[in-house]
Assembly symmetry: C2
Homo-oligomer: 269 residues x 2
């Protein structure tokens, strides 16, 4: 654990990350002493900080801190939090405050081996995501919706829940981005009103473009989902999981998902 | 400062309050060694915790901690944060985790003396509040909307900004609840889709009922605001501020606001 470059696992109770969720984060995977897709994660961090008016720490500073942690945690989940720092009382941000940087390594989760190959069981979440264009796409620290959604089920065999927004558009999983395959084309939900746009989502879109496979970013209905040829979820820790079950609906073949999965993992480092 | 009953101003970087904004808070005023409206604040805390499935600390425990702080900070702003505690990685809450209690006292803000008597200048915020019925009314730690809204202006003479939701309903101030007076009746925005329902808002509604003054809790339009006879804002620190200016619109007489203000302050302890 590093807090502002020093080993430790405590922060001030006056940190705006705690007081208001006033910050952003990244979750990445380290493997064999490498941080997978670190430059892409940094780009996202920088973009998210800019959207919130938070001064993003330099790439060189964060890379040095990450390098130090990689020696101790070569195969782990690495979380980076950047908050607007500690400040005076009140919501209005002060431009003079130094941001807070928090790195935390934790053990890789042990998912059942067949989830990546045979697909996962999923369910619909009851909670509907609110539409807030000013925060959409950003991986910020206001995650109560995700907490409530993830708390809707206890069955450990259900790997993920799918979320809709208030208008009934399907948006994402509680901790993952969603893709559909239909007639050899890719579709992924538009995240301009809610949701988190992850690094793996961008990588899948880039992969499709390189393959000249059409990819649509658009509103997705429940019907689109139920009529998809394949469905899969992505994030930086699980990489790619096909969906084999969603409520009463089943899928059994995932040829395109498997191809994308191989490509993501092949280029993982 | 008290963290889980001990003097200190640090919390774990694994606290869900930081990671997800997974907690609630209260801001109250202490005066002459008394915490104003503490039982009402506790009721709200308990209600908000229940809505998020957080186990609320006992009234006796929190009252004892507050009593200790009141000896040191008899006239202050007292903030209480209750988070879901530290837990395993992942959004899903673990029921076994102990909640975190954080008390923080700070100096009372020095507002210009005439704001309470002659009214304040306000403006419209551009940010629109998202509609999320599952979180509406709750004073939770996901406050990025308030941060962005409060960051929209720098002019210190503008005391507060008014927020609308995505449908154009007027909801609240960035840190206060809003009331309108029209033809001797009170109106305050419905907070079932967004906004924070504060203790002072309840007190004003109770006051009106005792006075047999009609009070409506309903959707409020911009037109309602501009045609109001009086407008005022309330919270536990400022108590009550009439609005004398909103954009280009001016108000100069606040007889009912003044009456409610006196009543709130008279019964303050």
């Amino acid at each position: 654990m590093l807090v502002n470059g020093k080993h430790g696992d405590l922060i001030s109770t006056r940190d705006r990350g705690l007081l208001y969720g006033d910050g952003v984060f990244r979750t990445l995977r380290t493997s064999g002493g490498q941080a997978l897709q670190w430059p892409l994660h940094y780009q996202k961090l920088q973009n998210d900080c800019a959207l919130l008016g938070i001064s993003c720490p330099d790439f060189s500073l964060l890379s040095a801190e990450l390098g130090e942690l990689l020696k101790i945690h070569p195969n782990s989940v690495m979380k980076l939090i950047v908050t607007r720092g500690t400040g005076n009382r009140g919501y209005a941000p002060s431009p003079l405050v130094e941001v807070t940087r928090i790195w935390e390594a934790s053990r890789l989760p042990e998912y059942p081996a067949d989830w990546a190959k045979k697909g996962i069981r999923t369910r619909w979440c009851q909670l509907r995501l609110a539409q807030q264009p000013r925060l959409a796409g950003i991986k910020h620290l206001n995650r109560l919706e995700n907490v409530l959604a993830a708390g809707e089920w206890e069955d450990k065999d259900i790997a993920e829940g799918l979320l809709m927004d208030a208008s009934g558009n399907v948006i994402e999983g509680t901790r993952s981005n969603l893709f559909l395959v239909k007639h050899g084309k890719l579709v992924t939900p538009d995240l301009s009103r809610c949701g988190v746009a992850g690094v793996q989502r961008d990588r899948v879109i880039e992969w499709a473009k390189r393959q000249h496979m059409p990819v649509q970013v658009r509103d997705v209905s429940q019907d689109d989902i139920l009529q998809a040829d394949e469905l899969f979820l992505v994030n930086s820790i699980m990489a790619l999981w096909p969906i084999r079950e969603l409520g009463t609906k089943h899928w059994s073949a995932f040829p395109i998902s498997a191809e994308i999965q191989q490509s993501l993992e092949g280029a993982a480092g």
